[in-house]
Amino acid sequence: MSRDKSSPQSSSLSPGSRLTTDDPRLRELVASALAEAKQQGASSAEAAVSVSQGLVVGVRLGEVETIEHTRDRGLGVTVYFGSRSGSASTTDFSPAALRDSVRAACAIARHTAEDACAGLADPERLAKVIPDLDLHHPWNPATEQAIAIARECEDAARALDSRIANSEGASLSTHEGLEVYGNTHGFLGSVAASRHNLSVSVIAQDESGMQRDYWYTVARAPGGLEDSAAVGREAARRAVKRLGGRKLATRRCPVVYEAPVASSLLSHLVSAVRGGALYRQASFLLDHLGKQVFAPFVRIHEQPHLQRALGSAAFDSEGVATAARDLVRDGVLLGYVLDSYSGRKLKLPTTGNAGGVHNLTLDPGPDDPGLNHAGAGLAGLLRRMGTGLLVTELIGFGVNIVSGDYSRGAAGFWVENGELQYPVEEITVAGNLGDMFRAIAAVGSDVDTRGNLRTGSILIENMTVAGS
């Protein structure tokens, strides 16, 4: 522990301290962990340290319900003895805990097997330049201000309609964090980021029963949040619209996934083209590289360097530089989602996706001559569908990535001539993901940018809807 002696207790963040964008103490802690690993005989090592803090305020029926002050920290280290590895993590930043964690990781590495693909990312792939992606906009609102915002949001929801009978409350949360990653190839990078979120969930009630729905806004900078009253009104509108939901008779029909639930289809795509699923032969998209997976109009691409976006990152969780790329172009699968390990297993270079994808975006399309651009949002998609099901909520886990079999609980609306007819619930939508991807007929321009998977509403031509 050669470097530790010169950096004793200073490695722990004292309570109450503000985060800075590039905390030298965290860099020093990463360096200490790597030095300790070398000291204990590791041939290489990587370490990550994170600290974050935040405030979460909950208001229900106009009254404060919870005030939570969050403050988290963690240190994780992975050591390599040749091609054997072990990992450990701790929430204690003391030199003794750091030493113990490295020791625990080394003890594990003595028992794991030789694995030729294991190890750090190749040095030439590590990020050399780290662009500023403008992700850190701390807020630190006074508690009373946070309460006022949440209350305004919930008040607007409750005032919208007399059928809003109850509430699960509104919540404002604000977080900022700093993460430092380093490895023994000499990489040391840090990212400071913030995230602010306002959400509300209300209950509408009439003689048919109760229905709950919610809405939220999320942004890196407080100024990026939607108006709080508008968020409340949207939640209330959605809850009221669901009143009187019925079952549908079992049928085959086209289905539109509303943008907020359509992103789940992108997440299934990612699960199926992840390196881990491919080298285990656990994916219905095995050996589909270069093949037609979607209709020819479909383009799905990664945008890791979007300013202020929620999925942006300059380097992935093993220090590899991220880059914009097309995952699917003209409906053809052009790449996989790989980290260094799964890349080596598949004899392909890493795609900079250790830890996941970055702002994966399904572009709207195709251009429909019958509709002007403004009409290509959800309403345009429904007109194009004519008669079918609009899905606004999915529940359950009925997705099998190995076979592609898909069957999930759903709620939404029955649509005729492009117009909502009545709410439906207690139904399932089912198909096979391979068929569903090929049957995507249109993607709306109503792109939901509130997450890392970005898409507008999606029209799928033919699915089985099970009900009564």
Partner: protein, 484 residues
Amino acid sequence: MLDIAKKTLLEPAELGTRELERLFAALTAARIDYADLYFQHSRSESWSLEEGIVKSGSHNIEAGVGVRAVAGEKQGFAYSDEIGLPALLEAATAARAIAHAGAGGESRVTSHELRITDHGSRITALYAPLDPLASLPDDAKVRLLERVERAARAQDPRVKQVMASLAGVHEVVLVARADGMIAADVRPLVRLNVTVIVEQNGRRETGSHGGGGRFTYAYFTDPVAEGFAREAVRQALVNLEAVDAPAGTMTVVLGPGWPGILLHEAIGHGLEGDFNRKGTSAFAGRLGEKVAAEGITVVDDGTLPERRGSLNVDDEGTPTQKTVLIENGILKGYMQDTLNARLMGVAPTGNGRRESYAHLPMPRMTNTYMLAGGHDPAEIIASVDKGLYAVNFGGGQVDITSGKFVFSASEAYLIEKGKITRPVKGATLVGNGPDVLTRVSMIGNDLQLDPGVGTCGKEGQSVPVGVGQPTLKIDGLTVGGTQS
């Protein structure tokens, strides 16, 4: 247990009764009704095998204190991952601010004198306070996983991939409440899982099995571990033959054990105290009403020895109990933590749980199951002309307000003219919580609890739970297949 907890959590930080009293004095300002400190030290590890070798392992330590002050319905909360007086005093100051966030009454907490009550020693411990991580040398953990892999591959040449993982947790908790009560618990938890992929003529299918509970790795003897592997392979091979599942409403027979996830989703969440106090559950205000067919009794029981969902005391220090939720079809009770019990004017039921010191407790299930009925399972199958027999499930989810729930089968068969015929692909079953149990027409005599791998998520917090049930026949459940 209190001694172990004090040695682990309080003594290293030089926290004695005097320091705790000082903390409560700082925490219980005017208008505070209740306050507690939750000390936790958790060590966990996991080992995983794939492609025939144990490739990775990890060791994790999580320690900290959650500090909570309650005023009426309002909760102030802060936590610290440093267990020490200065950090705790700061957290207490932050949590106490809840008292000023809106109007409130007089303080009802008058005493700051701690009267130590060790619930842990007043009841028979439900599990031994052992450290699973130390219960087996590391090389034996690796050999155990290798044995699972060999057993799976030996079972059938169509097995192409075997993934197995072994995980253990040693958790020590201590709850100190402003009313003077101190309780502690030492909670071992282990789990062994195996997933296989089989292939035949280019078609690939999976099967999974696993088990565990609150004991050490000694539970995973060779026959137990090899049994998990064989069961995973059996399920995967069944799925190789499966045809598309039917779509529509039909009679569904659920097998015993893990299919009890039905109870967890369809009624369990809806009977948690917080949703009922707030009136947001489809079951709110229905105590005493008939919500299930005659003969149906459902309990939540945190006192089953060594079960995954069991606790000696919950995360607020309340001893766990067996709570009757539905008795002979009638809704009898809700599951409560201290906050919701106080606000509803009932007694806590030992269901106050939290994921960790960094989360607020709330009413959560422990082990939720239905008592056995009188029918032979074979007689139940024989009574169905056309329907679905579902015996293994993935996960489930519920909308507690509308009552609509789903759970997804991973092994199911068609029933035709009283006989189990072809296996069908996993389908999602969807239903309505408040009425699904009224459609139960036969209850088996074969109550089983699940093997011990369930994890429940609520408001972003995960906790280990158990479920169980006998074979059940439900008239009219929607099956979400593709064959209409």
